[in-house]
Symmetry: C2
Subunit: 154 residues, 2 copies
């Protein structure tokens, strides 16, 4: 049956960012719902942020559309041009190529839970807009590689 | 800001099926979240079924992956090979090309609310597996055309 068995689903708490950059996402956990169901055209993550955790470093995608649907608690959507609180039932969309770095941060005292939907493009570039985050990520044929902004590989 | 203003969002209660086939979805309403945010790689509908309403006629997609996330209430997932009740927090996935017709029906006394995520392929075929539903739908360059199973256009 296509109903997923979430009780047996793997919960990922690790972060793919290199070195200390991964510290930013401590307290974040994800269940990859789309992967679990064998989908490969888009991904849907059920993501939980403990108080203080962030979804990612502030970034924008060149090719992949994104959508966030808040399920429980609240999180702050931080963008290059401002901040917005997202509560249960709120939705935010991020069109591919829109050069406005974004991330969600949980500044509340309870967990924040949301769905993240994103296209699965075989090739992609994610650009990080926080000047203190020396990273750029390139996906080629589905494989992510992490670079410094000067072009050196991590 | 990328946060959507859902209070002003258009709510669609009409159904694209031809003639009496549209009666099946009476009591269904949708907000097209992805469209509202300008996304075009996947669609995300916030769909509400009043008691007795169905999401669609039982169908499967040739090219487009689908995922359903239940938000409120409960609905019965009806497939060619059985039925499953979906409650808040349940997830079901439908891989493109899996020849198992599916639909959600609300047999409860309250509303059922869920998110439907689906790829936006320019070309697609949806096949309807209920022998009483004489319909096949073809999308070419984003335009849907409805046929009878003998190939006649509606």
């Amino acid at each position: 049956m296509p109903k997923l068995d979430l009780a047996k689903a793997p919960v990922r708490t690790s972060c793919v960012y290199p070195g200390r950059l991964a510290d930013h996402c401590k307290g974040r956990s994800k269940i990859a719902l789309g992967d679990l169901g064998g989908l490969n055209q888009f991904g849907v993550n059920l993501t939980r942020l403990a108080p203080g955790a962030a979804s990612a470093h502030q970034h924008w995608h060149l090719k992949e559309d994104e959508l966030v649907y808040m399920l429980e608690g609240e999180a702050v959507l931080v963008e290059d041009d401002g901040e917005t609180v997202l509560k249960s039932g709120d939705v935010a969309t991020f069109k591919a190529g829109a050069e406005n770095g974004h991330m969600l941060v949980n500044r509340s005292v309870g967990d924040a839970v949301f769905l993240e939907v994103g296209t699965r493009s075989p090739d992609e570039i994610a650009s990080y807009t926080d000047p203190d985050v020396d990273m750029k990520v390139v996906k080629e044929d589905g494989v992510w590689t992490f670079y410094r902004k000067n072009g050196d590989k991590y």
